[in-house]
Symmetry: C2
Subunit: 356 residues, 2 copies
């Protein structure tokens, strides 16, 4: 086997390369050499390696979340009396702490990136089962936006020969998968429509139960109209939205109230669905529990049947976790499982990284 | 196959779990549920997900370094006329930006962690060859310190039936592997001795060529004696040292000069080797080019033969990159390749995460 090895050490002077011909008994060096880092990059690495940054917290959080994800699996299995030893494989999305689908200027290059933490090696060691993690990076490396990944599951679950369907998931961010009747996987269109629960959740933590607070208020139409002018909503897919778009900065800047937030959420979802000839919308995610939001979405989509994924045998709240079990299964067999028409990737690639 | 899926979404409210029985044609949900984050952890995640942290820079740097590592491999292959298409597999250590072998208090737990960046999925996509990265995390997840990893290679290269050998690598940090004659892999002792080139490099960037600046100065013995009292040097192995121990803070705090830095480096290396019955020391790493440092190490180890790894067919500068080619080869066949006696791990584990 001819294997390349790459490292940059604590000196941060550049990247050392060695190419080796190796078998179980012998090895011989084919070539080696090193290339220096551009000074700007070396500066950025040194700045991030300094103890006075957030780097220690991110590194510790990555390992801590690995422990918590393993404990979550153990706890849910205990609670539901599912033998932990019956599990063959784990797929863990982890926690996104940064996602930037569009390239940003960085050290003289244009770089798109995403970062999920919750160390897969910790999960694999704690449960004693192989764990696949980091599902978004390969799609992004292939030129995609790393999201949405759910179309693979939506297509597998909801494709129909006769009905034009849209799968809508309302998590922190809302996203839709458009599945034309009789369409192939590559005909699927999918994107983040904008906010899901996250603006409302921040205004009424942990969440506005049933949407009752939102129902009790009135919409600030002037603010709503202004917010709907955000070019994100009229940008054609593929596109992804992230925490940073609707986080504390958004709240502070706009002074939005919870009723206007609910209306913004419903309107941006309905606007996105309106662009396609949907006959049925199948909703999943925590947003389904927000009755007020569901009513508003229904009212904004006259003539379209609004169902929940539960009617199709898919637990409303489990769908996203199911997705990462399905993607892990595909990854285990080295089968590509991104949907390039949804993420914008140049090609279908195997997602996830295996820790044993 | 029974596969578990885990996710925490943009709402950051907790960890969703789903366990699925799945084959290529059908799937059924075995159990699902979720567990909330402890409030402290949720707070830490939200703090790290905010745009006003270093998180964006780390995420972008991770992807940028993936590009640069792929380019480094391409460039070295071009330069040495090694066909890129002849490579079967890549092992990339990446760049360590944080390493904490000892657990630290974090969100009410004790967490040891390490973080290497240089996205493996980017390397795999750019070269079109599977890439294995993140070699240190599995060892740490198994209770080890994630370092040193080089003993696996040292043992394979330098074990002898008749000679007690010590392999010494002088990179940014210096580390030794003690290989008793006729010993087994589990008899190997290995640890970081303390600074390698990194203090000197910071005082004379990019490096003190041949050690001439250090040779021209005088040792500040008062400072040296004080620095040698650091309990790190007398702590028994396993132990690891990192950038943060000898970075800009160390320079500012101690006011150390380059000659004293060279002497501190040589003395801490010699002290570590003195504890074992070495007959031969085999040196590799950039430090070999520092003639003054090599002279000082030789003088501090009377009666011990000091050789370079080149005499044993191992390129002085390529050794660390060779290590990650060898570890990738082992990982590809799912064979454990940490040395628990060196890292302190509870068991031997498969290292690295595969991106295809």
């Amino acid at each position: 086997m001819r294997v390349a090895g790459l490292i940059s050490g604590t000196s941060v002077d550049g990247i050392d390369v060695a190419v080796l011909d190796i078998d179980d008994h012998s090895m011989s060096l084919v070539c080696s050499g090193s290339t220096p880092y551009p000074p700007e990059v070396r500066g950025a690495i040194l700045a991030m390696s300094n103890a006075n940054t957030h780097t220690p917290a991110i590194s510790r959080l990555n390992f801590l979340l690995g422990e918590l994800f393993a404990e979550a699996l153990r706890e849910v299995c205990d609670r539901t009396r599912t033998p932990l030893q019956s599990i063959d494989l784990i797929g863990s999305h982890g926690q996104t702490i940064f996602h930037e689908g569009e390239p940003a200027e960085f050290c003289g290059r244009r770089i798109a990136s995403t970062m999920q933490i919750g160390e897969g090696a910790v999960i694999a060691q704690r449960i004693g089962v192989p764990a696949i993690s980091d599902f978004r990076v390969a799609d992004m490396a292939a030129g995609g936006k790393g999201a949405p990944l759910v179309p693979f599951l939506d297509y597998r679950l909801f494709r129909s020969e006769t009905v034009n369907r849209v799968a809508l998931n309302i998590g922190g961010i809302a996203n839709i998968t458009v599945i034309p009747s009789g369409g192939k996987a590559e005909d699927v269109v999918a994107f983040d429509t904008g906010p899901g629960n996250m603006i409302m959740d921040q205004l009424s933590p942990p969440y506005d139960s049933g949407g009752e607070k939102a129902r009790a208020g009135v919409v600030n139409h002037e603010l709503l109209d202004r917010l709907l002018e955000d070019p994100y909503y009229s940008t054609p897919p593929p596109k992804t939205a992230g925490r940073e778009q609707y986080g504390p900065d958004f709240l502070a800047r706009t002074g939005i109230d919870i009723t206007t937030a609910a209306e913004l959420t419903a309107r941006t979802i309905a606007m996105a669905i309106h662009d396609y000839q949907a006959e049925e919308v199948i909703v999943s995610g925590g947003g389904v529990h927000n009755r007020f939001l569901m009513e508003r979405i229904g009212a904004l989509l006259p003539g379209i049947r609004v169902a929940t994924s539960a009617e199709y045998g898919m637990d409303i709240d489990a769908k996203e976790a199911v997705l990462f079990a399905v993607l892990a299964y595909e990854s285990w067999f080295a089968r590509p499982c991104n949907v390039p028409s949804a993420t914008g990737a140049k090609r279908a690639v195997v997602l996830g990284k295996l820790s044993r």
